[in-house]
């Protein structure tokens, strides 16, 4: 189900597709297994290659080295990227959240210092928001930043702990929310800092998740010094900045996930064709068919929804609760889809994804386990339902 695009848009799609196919072929992507494609070093190399080839910063103004493409073309690129099943982008937090924040709230020298490194992906960033005591309730954050001015300069001294920090072990920098006013509570007195991960007092401890991997980390700050010029916005403006940043990508952030889910469903149908159940292919079971039909409906409508949202954005109309809506629906449908994959696998599901003999390279088991996190990370489904009720329907808090 595809809405129509203009000839110029289709031409851009063609250009992007060709670049992706050729670049991926040149790094031997076709021959790589599903698991080799997850390799961090490889992904980060690829990411730098994208930066060097001018395929980053599509949305950025030209003055910062971007391509200033219209929203539709940004989306088209993301669709093609996902359709090519191209590598995971580890520096996406920098592109999606930090860069627009710097462009809006940053000083000239901050822009000059940090935007080029993001554009080229030579500097990777992690996001320091969540804390052990501040998950769904982010405003409860407790990491302190004490301001000190002396002969050595004007700086913050950061002490506390962040958690669920992905990519922290590979990151050069961290954008972090801290409580700069010790007497403040909730949304007030929070500041937004740019913290060098090589600073003294930073400890990164990988956090193993239920897949057995360690993508997240606990990050400890023990008196880490951050020069005042690395504060974005005013002191105490951190909450506002974080909330604005969360809206920046509203329109296009989810496009690649939705396209990937289409490919995932396509592969699930293949799995159902090739996996026997009671001596027949699982796809011959009318109940499996009905579940696949439901998923097809959900996945199609999700993709169409993203075009609807895009139109709203392009018309400059105020966005509704689309970000929550999309994240919630996507995560719950995907969880259901991967449960079906496990059901189809039947006894084959008893093998760990890491076993070399696991069906389809273990992809289904791993994604199934991963999918338990997606209804929790980036705000739980419960929080998103609250937001939809309050912002979408105007119900009382």
């Amino acid at each position: 189900m595809n809405p129509s695009f203009s000839a110029a848009e289709e031409a851009f799609r063609q250009e992007a597709r060709i670049w992706l196919i050729e670049s991926l072929r040149s790094v031997g992507y076709d021959a790589m297994s599903w698991r080799e494609r997850l390799d961090t070093d490889f992904c980060m190399r690829w990411e730098r290659h994208m930066g060097a080839s001018g395929w980053t910063g599509l949305s950025w103004p030209k003055e910062y080295g971007g391509r200033a493409l219209p929203l539709v073309q940004q989306v088209i690129f993301q669709e093609e990227y996902a359709r090519a099943e191209a590598p995971i982008l580890w520096n996406s937090m920098a592109h999606g959240i930090l860069a627009p924040t710097l462009m809006y709230y940053g000083t000239e020298s901050q822009k000059k210092r940090f935007l080029p490194g993001i554009l080229s992906n030579e500097e990777r960033w992690c996001q320091g928001y969540s804390e052990p005591g501040a998950g769904s309730d982010l405003a409860a954050l407790a990491t302190r930043a004490e301001r000190i001015s002396d002969a050595r300069g004007d700086r913050y001294v950061v002490t506390g702990q962040k958690v669920w920090t992905s990519v922290a072990q590979f990151a050069h920098w961290c954008f972090i929310l801290v409580r700069s006013d010790p007497k403040s509570s909730r949304h007030k007195g929070i500041s937004f800092l740019l913290l060098d991960m090589k600073s003294r007092g930073v400890t990164v401890r990988p956090l193993r998740q239920m897949t057995g991997e360690s993508e997240f980390n606990e990050v400890f700050f023990d008196g880490v010094e951050v020069p005042v010029e690395n504060r974005v916005g005013e002191e105490g403006q951190g909450w506002e900045i974080a909330m604005t940043a969360a809206n920046h990508e509203r329109g296009t952030f989810f496009v690649p996930m939705l396209v990937s889910m289409q490919s995932e469903l396509r592969d699930l149908v293949k799995l159902a064709r090739t996996t026997p159940s009671d001596g027949r292919p699982a796809i011959e079971d009318p109940l499996i068919q009905d579940k696949l039909a439901q998923l097809y409906m959900d996945v199609s409508v999700m993709r169409l929804n993203s075009y609807r949202t895009l139109e709203t954005l392009m018309q400059g109309r105020p966005p509704g609760p689309e970000a929550s809506f999309t994240k919630l629906f996507w995560s719950e449908v995907r969880q259901r889809m991967l449960e079906l994959a496990m059901d189809i696998l039947g006894p084959q599901a008893m093998l760990a994804w890491t076993d070399p003999q696991a069906a389809a390279g273990g992809r289904w088991q791993r994604e199934h386990l991963w999918s338990r996190a997606i209804t929790i990370l980036a705000a739980t489904s419960e929080i998103h339902r609250n937001i939809i009720a309050e912002r979408g329907l105007g119900m009382p808090r």
Binding site: V269, D290, L304, T312, R385, N386, E390
Partner: protein, 382 residues
Amino acid sequence: MNFEPTEEQRLLRESARSALVGLCTMPVLRKGFDDPAKLDAFAQALWASVAELGWTGLVVPEEHGGMGLGATEFAILHEELGRALFTGPYTVTAVLAAGLLQLAGCPASLRARLTDIASGAMRLALLEVQSGERESFFATCGHGGTVSLGTHRVPDAGVATHFLLLATEQVTSSHAGVGRLGMCLVDRSASGVTVESRESFDPTHTMGSVTLRDAPLDPGHFHVTELPAAQIARVLGDMRLARCSEMLGVADRALSETVAYVKERKQFGQPVGSFQAVKHKLADAYIALENSRTAARYAALARDAGAADALLALDVAEAMTSVMGIRVTGDCIQAHGGMGFTWESDMHLYFKRARWLASTGRGVGHARASIASAIVEGRVEF
């Protein structure tokens, strides 16, 4: 990229909404609930008003006095009709019949009645001829004469000036095959036509038992032809699409009234709408509604663009909106608490219309099975 209505379409929606607020009000509808004759009379008066607004000719070509618009427009209008719980055989007349008379091979004498549809002079209720009577019906449609049909239950029969008798069947069995279509019009007042009033599950529509015994067909008002199956499916699909859009309107109105209610109604010292269970129930209703809206709009766009996946998109829209409409209106009753199941509340009217709409077609099971077949047979793109 054209999900958002054009300026003209937005105007159509706005004018329809404001017109219906005056034309089709709950108090007037309610007066007809225990007296079908009264409801039919109201439906008839309403028809004259909407004809004046040009809606009866919405998809009728301009040369027959219509507006020559497409699926996107009748879909928008049906959303508004659903919101207002519009009564009368609008969809059968102004979408299905108007589409059938424009099909290739339709004789000029029959096609000429498009003018009567556009003007509002003709109101049509539908009798779908079932398999047992189909062969003799096709024969009749070939040569005219008289027609006899066993009793059919026909919504809005009491309002109709004519009955549209319709039969279709697959001639070649492949997916892109040929279909046969037979149809004719029978005057409501012709000899041999009996209409007996029945009670309708949806009190905002009347229902009749219609029997035809040697009822005469007017010359030129019958027709049997073979066409690409896809063409027949498209016209029949238009009625399904209209129902989907109507369902959207019904659910949308029920939900917005419910949200207003739970903001006001207090229990345990706070608005009921501040309880998380109520919030989450209505958030889920909102998600289901918006998803259905997307699916139905795309189905209309695909239909107007002649897209290859138009029928699949329609199956998706039908399967989603049917389930959504019944669930959302049911959840609205629940969120109203005790008030929700009183006759006095409008919630049951939305709930009943939703079920009525879901029951008119081939049903959600058929649509889902059709999507499943497309997947199994590899006819979907991912």
